[in-house]
């Protein structure tokens, strides 16, 4: 079963990516002494709570101090702070994987939880909503416009889009976002400058959805502007390359109608490499999303990330870095599966 094996291989590679990321993160954390500081903060926090609990029952300060110190020693051992950081690596990796990194410093969920896990669980769907919509629209634009202009290389519209792709490569997403806010929200006042819902949000389903749509127009346009340029151009190049192959000529000689030639002999054949490039482009869309969320105050993980940086929240940054890697790997995995079905030649 070649298909299954291929998928297995890709899955394994991507799993390795996650493992390596975790390892890399924790080695950096360990080697820079960051994990020591973090764990110390965690322990001190717990010790403080413990002491508060005991203050009521134990009156003698030296006795109290002794018990508290004992407790602290136990914690230090439990967290492995008495050992050098390489020894703690497996434990630390586990901690990152389970988001056991303390509480967020300056962010909370809607319900008021400051647990990192809760925060991410709340923010993740909002980010995914933004990313998938934008990636979907960009891919659609890339495919339709790219294949269209590939049939007329050198034309005005073709040149327009090749310049457009150069611009969209050079245009920082976040600056585009800022410009959009400046134009559409600040001067024209036709669209909201940020957020996900109006305050207070509509309660009924349909107005609520429309409100969301209204708020999503600018961030999605920003991301689409950033992503679609290169995708259009790539599609165009791939389609043009494929169109030069001999079998396309054969198909024409067979008297197949041009649209069938286009569909079955050009787009169908060019699809796998286009998908490959979309896979590679995903990394770009992720970073674009972090910045776009920041600019528009879209309450997803990107905004959380930015908050974490501004408030110097180590635990949150570590957790988010891990989650972003995970999202990326999962998205790639999905596309790889698609790819295997598209290209019968694929063999690793």
């Amino acid at each position: 079963m070649r298909l299954g094996r291929n998928l297995l291989v890709r899955g394994f590679t991507l799993l390795m990516v996650v493992v390596v990321t975790l390892l890399l993160m924790n080695v950096v954390l360990g080697a820079t002494g960051f994990s020591d500081r973090m764990l110390n903060a965690l322990i001190n926090d717990q010790v403080r709570i413990y002491r508060q609990g005991l203050v009521q029952t134990i009156q003698d300060p030296t006795e109290l101090q002794r018990i508290v110190n004992n407790y602290k020693d136990v914690l230090i051992e439990a967290y492995g702070l008495d050992k050098p950081w390489p020894m703690r690596l497996p434990q630390m990796i586990w901690r990152v994987m389970t988001f056991d990194l303390g509480k967020a410093k300056n962010a909370q969920t809607f319900k008021g939880s400051t647990e990192i896990y809760d925060l991410i669980a709340e923010r993740l769907p909002k980010s995914i909503l933004l990313i998938t919509t934008s990636v979907g629209i960009s891919a659609l634009l890339g495919l339709t416009i790219g294949t269209k202009i590939a049939t007329m290389p050198g034309s005005k519209i073709d040149r327009f889009f090749s310049n457009y792709s150069a611009f969209s490569y050079a245009l920082p997403t976040w600056w585009t976002g800022i410009l959009f806010i400046l134009i559409f929200a600040q001067y024209l006042r036709i669209l909201p400058p940020g957020g996900m819902y109006s305050a207070p949000p509509p309660t009924e389903a349909i107005p609520r959805f429309l409100d969301l749509l209204f708020h999503a127009i600018l961030p999605i346009s920003t991301l689409v502007l950033a992503l679609s340029g290169s995708w259009i151009y790539l599609t165009r190049t791939m389609v043009l390359n494929t169109a030069q192959q001999d079998f396309v000529n054969v198909a024409r000689a067979k008297g197949l109608p041009e649209n069938l030639v286009m569909r079955r002999y050009i787009i169908r054949v060019a699809a796998p490499p286009i998908i490959t490039n979309i896979i590679l482009g995903l990394a770009g869309s992720l970073s674009g999303a972090i910045l776009t969320e920041t600019v528009f105050g879209w309450p997803g993980m990107g905004l959380l990330y930015w908050n974490a940086i501004v408030t110097v929240d180590e635990g949150l940054i570590i957790a988010l870095t891990f989650v972003y890697t995970l999202i990326y790997v999962i998205a790639r995995m999905i596309l790889e599966v698609l790819y295997v079905f598209l290209d019968p030649r694929v063999e690793y």
Binding site: T13, L14, M16, V17, V20, T21, L24, M25, V28, L29, T32, F34, S162, N163, A166, F167, Y169, A170, L171, P172, W174, W175, I178, L179, I181, L182, Q186, P193, N241, L282, A283, L286, S287, I290, L291, T294, V295, Y305, W306, I309, V310, E314, I317, I318, L320, T321, Y324, T325, I327, Y328, V329, R332
Partner: protein, 478 residues
């Protein structure tokens, strides 16, 4: 077809985008060179990020040229400095300064202020008098009088003051100025205004205006003003470094200022060499690492290649920005950290590309021919493999430059820039954090972004122009 440098150059030059790119590039380099020569090396820490340096500057005002777009003439912010001194020795010894300036606006200045720096005195502290001669010939005598405070007891002469930070007198805050103006309008226009009235209605209109028939100061008096500054001293060796008079306006300079009063033109100019530096260093290092590993792995093959391939595959599969954020956050916001991290994640992409090209290049029979002749590996890599991939590598290097600049800008925007080196991204970040978008401070937001885009575009254009020249697919044999 063989590689012909002249044809390649012609082909490159024939495209409009390449010409545009080269033109921009030359401009970028010229500006960067100017900045390198004229700016102090500690610009970031000692000037840009030191609020005192910008004390005399207006806060968050648009560029001067914006008044060309409106019918009203806005008050231009003027910082007038002089150290040209006339020493009068008859009678009381005095250091006299004279500052001439033009005032052309339709509105009054926002404020005025006076500063004095590097004062040295040996005896009693000097007195400072300001007298303003106005375009219509009227003179406001003793607009400001200020006596320098006595030195702390125990200090020995010479007494040196106002070196680190100058003496700064904000005229609207001074009741003496109001009194002087009250005297002035009474004697000149026979208007009975108390110092309190003056202070409440804004002293600038009395300094810079004349009353109309109804006694309203609606229109500023435009023309040439002269501010006379007299420092009366009590010892013949007393000196003053320089004096400064600020006419606070609502527009300033070529690029306006931010909320700290920083002259954005100065900061934006400094961004040129920094952007080029980050772009070039990063792309050069990335290219060196990426192509060496790519050529080596591709040609030598075997286990070395496997390892290089695996590592580059994994690194290439990571989402860059989150990891960049993480690493720069942990390692510290230092330009070298940023560059190193960018290189660390940049090389695998190039290695993968170069390797695949080398795999193709080494199938060429002249490689085997060279082996058959007895050439060593290093000879073959240097003489036969490298020349085949070099033009491609060069294009990739140019192509990678803007992405390094953009990556740094993105990090800066997230607040992870190196504070000792102001960049366009950092200026934007300050603007964003301050809420410049919502306050409508477009001059703080648009120019830095535009410069990033133009710089990146210039490289993209050049790379695009080079592509058909070096792309082996477009340059097939026969």
């Amino acid at each position: 077809m063989g590689f012909n440098a002249k044809d390649a150059l012609n082909e490159f030059w024939s495209s409009r985008v390449s010409k545009l790119g080269v033109f921009f590039m030359v401009t970028l380099f010229a500006i960067s060179f100017y900045v390198l020569v004229s700016y102090p090396s500690n610009f970031g820490t000692s000037y840009w990020n030191r609020p005192q340096h910008w004390a005399d500057y207006p806060k968050a005002v648009p560029p001067t040229w914006t008044q060309m777009l409106t019918s009203d003439k806005k008050a231009q912010h003027q910082i007038l400095v002089t150290d040209e001194v006339y020493v009068r020795d008859k009678g009381i010894r005095a250091l006299e300064y004279s500052i001439r300036f033009n005032y052309k606006a339709d509105e009054y200045p926002k404020f005025t202020s006076f500063s004095l720096s590097e004062l040295t005195f040996y005896d009693d502290p000097p007195f400072v008098y300001l007298t303003l001669e106005r375009p219509d010939g009227t003179v406001i005598e003793d607009l400001l009088f200020h006596s320098i405070p006595y030195p702390s007891p125990g200090d020995e002469p010479p007494f040196v003051k106002y070196v680190e930070s100058p003496l700064r007198i904000y005229l609207p805050g001074s009741s003496e100025v109001n009194s002087a103006l009250s005297r002035f309008v009474r004697s000149e226009y026979e208007l009975g205004l108390t110092p309190l009235d003056i202070g409440n209605s804004g002293q600038e209109q009395y300094i810079f205006g004349t009353p109309d028939s109804e006694g309203n100061f609606d229109q500023p008096l435009t023309g040439s003003y002269t501010m006379k500054i007299r420092v009366e001293t009590f010892h013949e060796d007393d000196t003053v470094g320089s004096v400064k008079f600020v006419v606070g306006g609502t527009v300033f300079g070529y690029m306006g200022t931010d909320t700290l009063g920083r002259d954005l033109a100065v900061g934006l100019l400094f961004g040129f060499p920094v952007a080029l530096f980050i772009g070039f260093i990063t792309s050069t290092l990335t290219t060196i690492v990426g192509s060496v590993l790519g050529i080596w792995g591709g040609y030598v093959g075997g286990r070395t290649d496997d390892v290089i391939q695996r590592v580059s595959d994994i690194l290439n599969n990571l989402p860059q920005l989150p990891i960049l954020i993480f690493l720069v956050f942990i390692l510290g916001q230092n330009i070298w950290n940023i560059i190193l991290v960018l290189v660390f994640f940049g090389w695998p992409g190039l290695t993968i590309l170069v390797r695949s090209m080398v795999l193709q290049a080494k199938e060429e029979q002249f490689i085997e021919a060279s082996v058959a002749i007895g050439a060593s590996r290093s000879w073959i890599m240097a003489r036969h493999i490298f020349p085949q991939v070099a033009p491609f590598i060069f294009t990739q290097m140019i192509f990678y430059t803007p992405s390094a600049i953009l990556a740094e800008a993105a990090l800066s925007f997230l607040g992870l820039g190196d504070p000792s080196l102001p960049t366009w991204g950092q200026i934007l970040e300050r603007g964003f954090q301050t809420g410049a978008i919502y306050l409508g401070y477009w001059w703080w937001i648009i120019p830095p972004g535009l410069l990033i885009v133009i710089t990146a575009l210039c490289f993209v254009f050049i790379a695009q122009g080079l592509e058909p020249v070096v792309n082996p697919r477009l340059r097939r044999r026969r």
